[in-house]
Structures are given as structure tokens and as C-alpha cells.
């Protein structure tokens, strides 16, 4: 196999992994603090819409990114209000967040642009362009295609892995965050508000999903199309469980999932399979790979994925 093709696969894997990785880290903050988050998809979707709509109206991708983060943060805080303050069911809240995002993006889209379920196509000035790192074309094809040549958000995402690891494992806030998910009573006994820690966690998740959504609509593609997140929020959820809620494992899982997807795109059209049943099997496994792996890990057949002990349980101070 030639080097160009390998570089292409890895480059495409990196780009595909980025939004999943950011959403996965978002879920990590939230779930480590004890708030289950199946609304990653919805937050990414509303962010993708807000980014493309704002970039189209103002002409600036930076404003687009800010709008994406604000929209996603608002949805995250709504989830937080329902789950933390009102002690509601976190799963049901997540389901409604996902629907709400799809509906609001569609409604606002047709009210603003008169296009059903999408924004106008963005010009290259309205998008994040791909960066060329120093020595872009001097260090070989792997450096040129895989390391260099992505949008800024890709590098931000990889930086976020390190940041997440540092924040969760090496800071006082991180200790409190993990404790809020494992033993909220202990956090409260230490005089720290569980609710506040959980709100911070949910808000950080909102910001990360906002960046992920912006990446989809104003870096990877040129505008929002209906439901363009294409279940990436759920792949991120799968990756989070597969990675057992750890940041570096999340990075490798997302790269693995991105890699499988990239290989899938590469072999499509190249490899011809005559057998219809074999084609069915290959296409099925390719589409369902992250989900099947997650079920296997969740069932403890390969290691055991244990979520935070207090995850999903509303915390009540006075008992």
C-alpha cells in the first residue's frame, strides 16, 4: 500500500474523530460529576446550526464559534436545571434536549433563511480554513497530510484531551468533580456544594459540545444541513463508555472509531464484493462498529466499564 493512501486514511480518521472526541470529553465531565448526558447529540446539533447561521449572517467564523458555544451552553444549562435543581430524570431530559435541538434548528432555520432545515452555503471566508503548520510540505507526506493541514479546532480538540486529563486528575476542582459523581455526600460534608460542582461540569460539557458542533458546520462542511450531526453524539457516548470515562483512552477510542470510518470510506468503490450477503455483513459491521463494541465492553466481556457510582441519581441534600 502506498504512503499517500495511508496518509489519506489517517488524515481522514483525524478529521472524523475530532467532533466525536470533543463530545466525548463533554460527556466525560458531565458523567464524571454524576450527571448522565445522552443529550450530546442535541447540543452538537444546535451548536452546528448556530455556528453556520451566525457565520452566514455576520461573515465571521469566530462569531459563529461563539454562537455555537453559547447555544450549546444554554442547552447544557437547561439539562443542568432539570437534572440538578429540579432533580428530574436525566435520561428523559437528554431525550428532550435532542428533540428540542432538531426542532429549534429547523424552526429558526426556516424563519431566518426560508430554507427548510438548512443554512445557506458558506463562503471560504465564513469558515475556518485549514492551517498549514510550519514546514508544511517539507517533512514528508505523513506530516503534510496527517499532522498539518487541519482546521484550528482539530488542534484545540487534541489540546482538550490534555486539558481534561489535567483538570480532572490534577486539580482540586477535578477531585471535587469526581467525588460529586462517586460520593456526593462526602463532597457536601466537606462544605462544598454538589450542585455547584455539577453545574460547572455540565457547563464545561456545553462548551465542548459547542466547539464540536462548530467544527461540523463551519470547518468540516460549509453550512448546516438538517441533522448533520448524524448520530455522532451517540458515537461519542459509545466512545466514552468504551474508554471507561478516561480522557486518554477517549482519545484512542475516538481515533479508532474515526479510523474504522475512514477505512470504510476508502474501501467503498475500491474493493468489489460479488456476494450480496457478504456485502450486507460488511456494511452492517462498518456502520454499527462503535455501537457493537460498546455493548461488548458494557457487558464486561472485554474489561468492565463501571460508571460513576452516583451517576443518574439526583442529589438531595436534606435526607
Amino acid at each position: 500500500m502506498d504512503l499517500d493512501l495511508i496518509a489519506q486514511v489517517f488524515a481522514s480518521a483525524t478529521r472524523l474523530a475530532t467532533p466525536i472526541l470533543l463530545a466525548c470529553l463533554a460527556g466525560l465531565f458531565s458523567e464524571r460529576a454524576g450527571i448522565l448526558d445522552i443529550g450530546l447529540e442535541g447540543k452538537m446539533m444546535i451548536a452546528a446550526f448556530a455556528a453556520a447561521a451566525t457565520a452566514s449572517l455576520t461573515g465571521s467564523p469566530v462569531f459563529g464559534l461563539c454562537a455555537a458555544i453559547s447555544a450549546s451552553l444554554a442547552f447544557a444549562l437547561l439539562h443542568g436545571f432539570a437534572s440538578i435543581t429540579l432533580r428530574g430524570n436525566q435520561l428523559i431530559s437528554g431525550v428532550s434536549i435532542n428533540m428540542f435541538a432538531l426542532g429549534i434548528a429547523g424552526l429558526t432555520g426556516s424563519a431566518l433563511f426560508g430554507l427548510s432545515g438548512r443554512t445557506p452555503n458558506l463562503t471560504s471566508e465564513q469558515r475556518f480554513s485549514n492551517l498549514c503548520l510550519p514546514f508544511h510540505s517539507d517533512l514528508g507526506v505523513i506530516y503534510r497530510d496527517v499532522v498539518s493541514g487541519h482546521s484550528a479546532i482539530v488542534y484545540v480538540a487534541f489540546g482538550c484531551v490534555l486539558g481534561t486529563w489535567w483538570l480532572v486528575y490534577k486539580t482540586r476542582f477535578g477531585l471535587r468533580l469526581r467525588a460529586a459523581g462517586e460520593a456526593p455526600d462526602a463532597v457536601e460534608t466537606a462544605g462544598i456544594s454538589v450542585a455547584r460542582v455539577r453545574y460547572y461540569a455540565v457547563a464545561i460539557g456545553g462548551v465542548l459540545c459547542g466547539i464540536a458542533g462548530a467544527h461540523l458546520s463551519i470547518a468540516l462542511s460549509a453550512g448546516y444541513t438538517e441533522a448533520m450531526t448524524a448520530d455522532r453524539g451517540f458515537i461519542a457516548l459509545a466512545a466514552l463508555i468504551f474508554a471507561k470515562w478516561r480522557p486518554f483512552a477517549a482519545l484512542f477510542t475516538c481515533l479508532l472509531f474515526g479510523f474504522v470510518q475512514a477505512i470504510g470510506f476508502q474501501i467503498e468503490g475500491v474493493v468489489e464484493i460479488d456476494n450480496r450477503w457478504l456485502t450486507t455483513l460488511v456494511e452492517f459491521l462498518e456502520a454499527s462498529f462503535p455501537y457493537i463494541m460498546t455493548v461488548i465492553v458494557l457487558a464486561g466481556f472485554v474489561g468492565k466499564a463501571t460508571p460513576s457510582a452516583a451517576g443518574g441519581i439526583p442529589y438531595t441534600k436534606e435526607r
Binding site: A82, S96, M99, G103, G106, A287, V295
Partner: protein, 367 residues
Amino acid sequence: MPQLPRWAENVLVPILSVGLAVLFSALAVLSIGESPLQAVQVLSYGAFGNPYNFGFTLYYTTNFIFTGLAVSVAFHAGLFNIGGEGQALFGGIGAALAGLWLDSTNWIIVLIIGLGASIAFGSLWAAVPAFLLATRGSNIVITTIMFNYIAAGLLVALLSNVLKPTGSDAPRTRQFAQDSHVPRLDQVINWWGFDIARIEANIIFLVALLAAVGVWLFLYRSRLGYEVRMFGHSNSVSDYSGQSSFKITMIAMAISGGLAGLMATNAVLGQQHQLSLGFVGGAGFTGIAVSLIGRSHPLGIVLAALLFGALFQGGAELSFEIPAIPTKMIIVIQALVILFVGAMENLIRYPTVALLTMFRTRNGRWI
């Protein structure tokens, strides 16, 4: 916090929560510069105004009765089955196989085998997550979500390779033969010598009503149903009284999945007469809203399913009459209902408790 009296918990709180959702929906309509009152008028005419429209309302209602019942049976066992979408998809494969193999016979055979196959396929798709929960402790919510996507991946792969007719590019099966089409309600009524216009709902609507009665009998009049509800209330009481948690989990999820699978017969055998992508159309998730509003009681679910059926049919008419209000409005309303009735019910419950406490009698009884 004190428990509310039953009438407040089961009627007042849900109604006020739906009221909040309606209020916010009205604000959404206002914000795009349309009149909410006119929207309600158009919507109700679109849903109930004439037999043809009402037929579509009943068609959607049928779907939502099945998926709502599916969510509620699992819920009574303390399990959140979010996988109705996938179970319905998988049930659809069963229903379609019945249609493809037997459509040279007649509709009675196709219907009976189709109902059986969709129940079996739906149950199977719910039984795997149930088995993994009961034996390996897998979180049922996550597993059923994953199974939604695994089913979707399987359906796409099957439709685009083996189930589509040879030579066709579209990912859907061939149309089933005319004789195998399950009769619509107007055709059934016209057998008795009447002459009424087309009603889109078919006799599977009656199957849905029977299923609601069946679920009621199962939950509230059978020993097994009692055990399921006991397990849902308290796993430990259930354990101490000698119930097998494995058995209860498997049974509750199999029934839940079977009900979700039945939804597919209505869409595949009753209306589209072929298997295509997206025939579930979110009915599995709407089932969550239906079950929440219906308070997981079969009667409540039938009424809530009618409400959502009217919303879907009326919403489609609404976007046709007033193009400024797209069908996405219905998704927003649905999301608001799930949010206020399901996730934020304490927004209503806390003030209700405070208010009713003021009127509590001296000996601590509710008025």
C-alpha cells in the same frame, strides 16, 4: 417532601405540566409572527375536521399506542426502554418478511403471521439488552440506545443489498401484492353495506386497542404483572419474596419489545405495503412522551397517543396551510412536552405541594 394525593399526582401535575408545554409552544408560534389561536384552529381541523384527516390521526395514534405501551411496560418494571425505535425497526424486518413470503396468499394470513413475526423480532431485539442486564449488569438505557443504531445499521445494509428487488437502486423492498394489504377501516365498514370515504387507519388500530386492554389485564389483573410492578417498585422486596429478577427483567423487556415491534405492522403491512428506511419516523421516541403523559397507564396512553396522533397529523396540515410554521414545530412541541412532563415535573410539583400544604387539614390529611 410529602407525597401528593393521587388526584393531584396523576391528574393535576401532568395537566399543569402539559399546560406549560402548550404555553411555551404558543410563544414559539408567536415568535415567528403567527397567531397561536389560528394555529390551534388549523391544527385541530387538520386532525379532526373530516373523516379523511381523522383517519390519518388514527393511523399515527395506532403507532403511538404501541410504542407508548412498550415504554410503559418496561417502566413498570423500573426499566427505561429507550430502544423502542430499534425494536420497531427490527420488528419491521419481521413484518416485511411475512409480507414478502406470503403476499400471494391473502391478508388474513399475512396479518396473523406478520403480527407474530413483528412481536418475535421486536421481543428478540429487546431481549438481548435485557439478558445483558440480567446476567452481566449492562446498563439497559445505554444498551438499548446502542441497539437502536445497530438495528438501523442492519436495516440499511439489508435494504441496500438483499431485500431490495434486483435492478433497483432505492433501498426498499418491492410492494406487497394487493390481496395481502391489511384492510383500512373504511373498507371494513363498507363490508356492511355502507359507503364511506377513505380512512387511512387500518384494522391494526383495533389490535392496538386490544393490546392496551391486554397490557391493563397483564399489569393489574395477573400475577405476573403484579410481580413485574413489585420488581419495579423495589428490587429488594421482589428478591426477598422469592422472585427471580432474571425472569422479571426478561419478561418485561420481551413484552415491551414485542409491543414496539407491533408498531411496525401498522406502518409496513397496514400503510406503506413495503419496507423502507425511516418507516418508524421517531415513533419509538414519541412513545416516551406518550407514556409520560399517560402516566404509564394503558387508558392514559391511549388518550395521550390520540393527542400525539392529532399533533402529528394536524401539524402536517398546519405546515401546509401556514408555510411559516414548518412540521418541525411538532418536534419542538413534543420536546417541550417531554421536558416539562418528564424531566421538569418538579417545576410544577414543588409549588403544588407548597400550595396544597397550606390547605392541609389539622390532622395532616389532604383536602
